[in-house]
């Protein structure tokens, strides 16, 4: 317990004193202190700003650096004259931490604390917020961003997580999980809030890194590989289906889900399987391309035999 030492120059020693008063030494005042005003308030210390004084309140360093400055515009600067409501000074490349918040959540706890909440237009309405989740294990440390939506209620903070930057125990160790649902297994997982990886990506193009510069152990696939791909494609058993809706630890039928076509993980060749019981679309495309090549060559063979 160490109360701040005080060395006061008091402008007034008694209630209502207006003459300039100096006290060399410490001062202890049990009652409230009103500064710049004689109007009592319920504050222990009330500093009333005046237009004639730029700084109603300032805590200074020994060199008079304004550690905590309140301007007469109401803006607060920390070690700086404020250019914002709260302006925090700092320095780059010096391991300086400008803002530190301590309200992180423990993984799987239901405390639901927000580290930073973003209110609307000077109010606490429709607050988006950023949460953090912490745990000793490799997985499940996350920084989550929640965007307010009407189902949260105007006065409440957001409930819909749009993206989670989360550590995982697979892949490269971390992922961007959009509309998270379940534990992701890839660097970017697009869910829909209900099922892992069931979200949609909207993009004009999808590219894969392909330059020889980025690759090694390159070997060209031959006729045998092509024939195997031909056989694999020939053996694919396509189905139509709907994705189920997550409920508890499993999935239930969701009649609102669109009807899709595709393959069953359990029925595809091993080469087409991916982590998390997925099918690798990239490998399917490669198989299809090679099968087309075989098909084309066989057609050409018949064409030659039959003649033009």
């Amino acid at each position: 317990m160490r109360p701040a030492r005080a060395l006061l120059l008091l402008a007034a020693l008694a209630s209502g004193a207006y003459a300039q008063t100096s006290v060399v030494g410490d001062a202890w005042i049990v009652g409230p202190v009103l500064i710049g005003t004689t109007t009592a308030s319920r504050s222990r210390v009330n500093v009333a700003a005046s237009s004639g004084t730029l700084t109603p309140f300032q805590i200074s360093g020994v060199d008079l650096t304004p550690f905590l400055r309140v301007g007469n515009d109401g803006k607060v600067g920390l070690s700086t004259y404020s250019a914002a409501n709260l302006d925090v000074n700092g320095s780059g490349d010096s391991a300086n931490v400008a803002l530190q918040v301590h309200s992180g959540n423990l993984y799987q706890s239901a405390s639901g604390r927000a580290q930073i909440a973003f209110g609307q237009d000077g109010t606490t309405n429709r607050r988006h917020h950023i949460d953090s989740v912490h745990v000793d294990s490799t997985a499940h440390n996350s920084l989550d961003v929640l965007i307010w939506s009407p189902d949260a209620g105007a006065a409440n903070v957001a409930t819909m997580t749009v993206v989670s930057l989360v550590t995982i125990s697979t892949a490269s160790g971390a992922t961007v999980h959009v509309r998270p649902a379940g534990d992701p297994v890839a660097e970017l997982t697009v869910s829909d809030g209900g099922g892992l990886g069931l979200g949609t990506v909207h993009a004009a193009a999808q590219v894969t890194p392909s330059s020889r510069d980025w690759k090694s152990d390159i070997s060209y696939l031959g006729e045998r590989d092509a024939a195997a791909a031909f056989d694999r494609v020939r053996g694919l058993r396509h189905v139509s289906f709907r994705y189920g809706r997550r409920k508890g630890g499993g999935f239930v039928r969701d009649t609102r889900a669109p009807l899709r076509r595709g393959l069953m993980y359990e029925e595809v060749p091993e080469i087409l399987r991916g982590p998390g019981e997925s099918v690798n679309a990239t490998q399917r495309l490669v198989d299809a391309e090679m099968a087309f090549g075989v098909l084309a060559r066989r057609l050409e063979a018949i064409r030659k035999e039959v003649g033009p």
């Binding site: 009103l34 973003f118 609307q120 193009a205 076509r261 018949i302």
Partner: protein, 1073 residues
């Protein structure tokens, strides 16, 4: 018996030979559990030997007999005992019933273990050696399973017939042997004649064993008789009390009956004599003579048969009890002896009984309650030396001597208690200083000094930190962070110390506590080490050392004085009296005036002195009771209360002489000690040297003040050990911060401080931690309890910077501003380097926000109108240039809520301008699952991930290594297998696809899409022209569905190709290609 014989499976060999002319033996096969009953029925040989018992026990594999007491001592009862290692070994053994000493033995061991019969031989002996009246068959070994052999040795046998049989009975006899008288030779070689049915006969010699080789017998039977030709008759001697009298024995009866016994084929008893009294008999197989009125003395009984063979037994008749034993001390001092003798308890008792013809069997020491305190046995020796009996309690005892004919005598002795009186005298008048030098006790006061504590692996690493002070306190805080607490204070020979780590030093290894016993002059009287394996210490962890020393003087403080006793003065030997210079000074100071402590050593020490030593006691006096002043005895190694009892302590109200009385039982060095006199911890008081005042309940002291600590230790029983150290710690951050030894007044810095302090004494009494909180101020200070209204400026510090309220940091202040809650928790704190904490009082960042439901809340969110406010801006290196920022948009509808991340780039126009390029927008959307991650946002997204390029919604590019789709059956419902018709439809649809080349349009600021020649040319499909299955939401085409369509079409094409090839082959075969 015959039935049992036939049913026998395992080998059982029983043979009993009694001391009668005819011996027989037989072998039976019975389960072990029935063996005892079999013996009862079958061993009728014992009928003629009522003094014999049969025991069934076991032998170990080495043949050692387990001679445990029999459980059923009746004749023919069987003692059955489990083997230690093998439950199938058995032994039959019979003893004479008169005592448990093995006299005659005949035993057989049986085993079913491995079908081996060990020993398996009857042998018969007297304790004095083998006798010719039986035979022994020694160390036979029947190994049925191995070699079908009987191994035996024989060294003495007279005239037996032995028949060996084997089992099963159908093969009997396998060998019939007759061994005549001369066949057994002294070298143990058996010479035999055998006849074996169907095999032949002959004569042979077998050294040590017989080996009738037969085919796989399962057992053997041996039977035989002993011829009695040439044997001497035997005899029995029965006294007037009907007790047998053995050869060499004795009786207290003066009547004797002697029976001569001749073997069945003997020549008959011709003569019975007792000493010179010779009586002629008629020559029958038995004859009896009675002899009465015999005087005490040595007798010889002789029986002679008609062939001149004779047997003689000697015995003693003693009808008078022995003389009473005498008692003496072991050193042969001329103390009185005999009944009624009194011995001091310091002496031992021993003696020798007078000679008696029958000899002595026991000498017993019996106390007044009849309890045998000590018993010594003798083998009927003519005299018996007994004792010494030492350390006897006071009382009356009987010394009882019993002869071998059960006649007794006793001597009564008295053990008297030796007592001493100690007079302890203060320095008041009346103390008998004139008696100085005539006697005292030796005060061995030493103290245990803890020297060092170090790791066993490397003594140097922490030795410096842990060196104890010269006084070696039992409780010590080194100032290096280790607290030593003596845990036990009552045991004179052992002390436990607890070592507690009170610093951040960690990862210690094993520790060794080295303790030395030293006196105040530094002379070491011994040392000891105690080890503790304790790695990885952390704050507050402790370990305990047990230090065992011969004497821990810190436990006892002598006030040695003189002694008086009722014992004769002649037994005191005062060796010397010396000043107790080795007493620690603090003891001398507090207990003994200079030069008034003395030693007394005595060789044969009976406390008789009345010498008095002056002792100064602290004011308040000494408790006069046996709990305070107790007697101890020094046995040369340690002081203990064993053998000495403090009987009383009293004080003469006139002379102030304190008299203590002790009872003791042995010689030695005695001392009276104060024990446990100080159990009260010191009391420490903190004071401030300098100006101070109390304002509003708080203590304020001036900057020139010092802390002054003083301590007192309350008297207990008039005594208090000194304080060893006063310690304190200022502003501890943790409970484990070390205490500092107080040596001088402590200067203080400005600010509020917490002082914790305590003291400890040499007995290890630790004062509870006391706490003082105070504020050091400059000057006299301004104090006012009313409200202060300051229309002007309030400046706190040296100079103002123009603020109405300004507090200027000072280097000595850890905080420049602290606004506290009602419960004194920090609400806002500004430290002395400009860090600001909100909700905490020790900020560690420029702005450090403590725990809350919402840590930081920012309210500059935008509506969907102008979107011009920033919520958080990230400036560069202490200024506001190159600012990235976060902004938020809020709306009552789902799709108007966003959180945008903008990163500065030159297109912002100026380094001073906030970023203008939105890289990522997290936003709510009406479609899909309601939320979207929108990269380089342009327009409204319609998927969970929308990758735009800043101008075209979804016009951006995704780069990835693998594209995965959830596929397991677990995730899916409504699964329907696509058919060949579906494949055929896909083939036709793919064939109908109309690929185009195109550019994407760009999104204009007004929301319109406009041609943009800067966009790259692409190839693809037009949403409106593709089959329904390929269409996604909002004008998109599903790449995954396109892949399915291609795969399905490909399969259809393959199928058609195969049919075409088949058809072509058929046509070609018909020559119609």
């Amino acid at each position: 018996m015959g039935l049992r014989w036939k049913l026998a499976v395992t080998a059982l060999f029983i043979s009993l030979v009694q001391f009668r002319p005819e011996a027989g033996y037989a072998q039976f096969n019975y389960p072990n559990t029935e063996l005892g009953n079999v013996l009862l029925r079958e061993l009728d040989y014992l009928q003629g030997c009522p003094a014999c018992r049969v025991y069934l026990g076991h032998v170990g594999l080495l043949g050692d007999w387990n001679g445990s007491d029999p459980q059923n001592p009746d004749n023919y009862d069987v003692y059955q005992q489990q083997s230690r290692t093998d439950t199938t070994n058995w032994v039959i053994k019979y003893l004479e019933a008169t005592n448990n000493t093995l006299k005659r033995t005949s035993f057989t061991t049986f085993t079913t273990h491995n079908n081996i019969v060990y020993d398996g031989a009857p042998h018969h002996s007297y304790s004095g050696g083998w006798t010719p009246d039986g035979f022994f068959w020694h160390a036979a070994k029947f190994d049925i399973s191995q070699r079908d052999q009987i191994v035996t040795t024989a060294s003495s046998l007279v005239g037996i017939n032995i028949t060996f049989f084997s089992f099963p009975f159908t093969k009997l006899p396998v060998a019939n042997m007759f061994i005549d008288t001369g066949s057994f030779r002294c070298d143990g070689i058996v010479e035999y004649i055998y006849e074996q049915a169907g095999v032949g006969s002959g004569r042979g010699l077998y050294p040590f064993y017989l080996e009738p080789v037969i085919a796989s017998p399962s057992g053997y039977a041996v039977d035989g008789t002993v011829s009695e030709t040439g044997r001497a008759p035997s005899m029995t001697i029965i006294d007037g009390n009907s007790n047998p009298v053995n050869n060499g024995g004795a009786t207290n009866s003066n009547s004797i009956t002697i029976t001569g016994i001749e073997e069945a084929n003997g020549s008959g008893v011709a003569q019975i004599s007792l000493n010179s009294d010779v009586r002629t008999e008629s020559g029958g197989l038995t004859a009896t003579e009675n002899f009465t009125g015999l005087a005490d003395g040595q007798y010889t009984a002789t029986v002679v048969d008609s062939a001149g063979n004779s047997t003689s037994n000697a015995f003693i008749i003693a009808t008078e009890p022995p003389s009473a034993p005498t008692a003496n001390d072991p050193e042969g001092n001329s103390l009185p002896s005999g009944s009624g003798t009194s011995f001091p308890s310091t002496r031992c008792v021993m003696g020798e009984t007078p000679p008696t013809p029958a000899g002595y069997e026991t000498v017993e020491l019996i106390d007044s309650s009849g309890t045998v305190v000590n018993s010594q046995s003798f083998d009927c020796t003519e005299t018996a030396e007994y004792g010494p009996y030492c350390n006897l309690s006071s009382g009356t005892y009987k010394l009882k001597a019993t002869s071998c004919v059960d006649l007794s005598s006793f001597t009564t002795i008295t053990i008297t208690s030796a007592s001493a009186k100690i007079e302890v005298c203060g320095d008041q008048s009346g103390c008998r200083s004139d008696l100085l030098g005539t006697g005292s006790l030796k005060g061995r006061v030493m103290r245990l000094t803890l020297k060092t504590l170090y790791t066993t692996g490397n003594p140097n690493d922490i030795r410096d930190r842990l060196m104890f002070d010269a006084l070696g306190a039992p409780f010590y805080e080194s100032g290096g962070g280790f607290i030593f607490v003596r845990l036990s204070t009552t045991t004179p020979t052992s002390t436990s110390y607890s070592v507690i780590n009170s610093t951040s030093y960690a990862a210690w290894s094993d520790l060794r506590l080295h303790a030395e016993i030293v006196d105040s002059s530094g002379v070491v009287h011994g040392s000891t080490d105690a080890d503790a394996v304790y790695a990885g210490w952390t704050y507050g962890q402790s370990t305990t050392f047990q230090v065992n020393v011969a004497q821990n003087g810190a436990e006892y403080v002598t006030s040695i004085t003189s002694v008086t006793t009722t014992a004769p003065i002649s037994y005191i030997t005062i060796m010397q009296i010396i000043a107790c210079s080795f007493l620690p000074k603090f003891f001398r100071d507090h207990l003994l005036p200079s030069g008034s402590c003395y030693d007394l050593s005595a060789s044969d020490f009976v406390l008789t002195s009345t010498a008095t030593l002056n002792v100064t006691f602290a004011p308040g006096g000494v408790n006069v009771d046996t709990a305070t002043l107790q007697a101890f005895r020094f046995d040369g190694v340690e002081w203990s209360s064993a053998g000495v009892t403090t009987e009383g302590v009293s004080k003469d109200t006139t002379t102030s002489v304190i008299t203590a009385t002790a009872a003791y039982t042995r010689s030695g060095e005695y001392g009276f000690f104060f024990v446990g006199v100080d159990t009260i911890a010191p009391t420490t008081t903190a004071a401030f040297q300098g100006a101070s005042f109390i304002f509003d309940g708080a203590l304020f002291v001036s900057t020139d003040a010092f802390i002054v600590l003083s301590t007192t230790d309350a008297l207990v029983n008039g005594y208090s050990v000194p304080v060893t150290s006063v310690t304190y710690r200022l502003d501890p951050l943790t409970p484990y911060d070390p205490f500092i030894i107080y040596t001088a007044s402590v200067p203080l810095a400005l600010g509020t401080h917490v002082l914790e302090y305590r003291s400890l004494d040499y007995f290890g009494n630790i004062e509870a931690i006391k706490t003082a909180t105070f504020t050091v101020t400059a000057g006299t200070g301004f104090r006012n309890t009313s409200s202060q209204r300051i229309p002007g400026t309030l400046l706190n510090g040296f100079m103002g910077a123009g603020a109405e309220f300004e507090a200027v940091s000072r280097a000595e202040n850890s905080l420049t501003l602290l606004i506290s809650s009602a419960n004194r928790q920090g609400v806002i704190a500004v430290d002395n380097i400009g860090e600001v904490g909100v909700g905490l009082r020790v900020p560690q960042a420029n702005l450090d926000v403590g725990i809350s439901t919402i840590g930081l809340q920012l309210r500059s969110g935008n509506s969907t109108a102008t979107v011009s406010s920033a919520q958080i801006a990230f400036g560069y290196n202490g200024d506001s240039s190159y600012r990235h920022f976060m902004r938020t948009e809020h709306s009552t509808s789902t799709d108007g809520n966003k959180m945008d991340f903008l990163v500065w780039n030159p297109s912002a126009g100026s380094t001073a301008t906030l970023a203008s390029m939105s890289v990522l927008s997290l936003q709510g959307i009406k479609v899909a699952s309601g939320g979207s991650l929108h990269v380089r946002p342009a327009g409204e997204p319609d998927a969970e991930v929308e990758v735009s390029n800043g101008s075209s919604t979804g016009g951006g590019t995704i780069q990835y290594g693998q594209l995965l789709t959830p596929s397991s059956r677990r995730f899916k419902t409504d699964i329907v297998r696509l058919t060949e018709q579906d494949d055929a439809l896909a083939l036709s649809e793919v064939a109908e696809l109309r690929h185009v080349r195109f550019r994407y349009k760009s999104l204009q600021k007004d929301g319109r899409l406009a041609d943009d020649a800067r966009q790259p040319l692409r190839t693809g499909l037009i949403y409106e022209e593709v089959p329904r299955f390929l269409q996604g939401s909002d004008g998109t085409i599903s790449s995954i569905e396109r892949l399915v369509e291609v795969e399905s079409a490909l399969k259809a094409a393959m199928s058609r190709l195969e049919r075409l090839q088949k058809r072509y082959a058929e046509l070609k075969a018909r020559r119609r290609p």
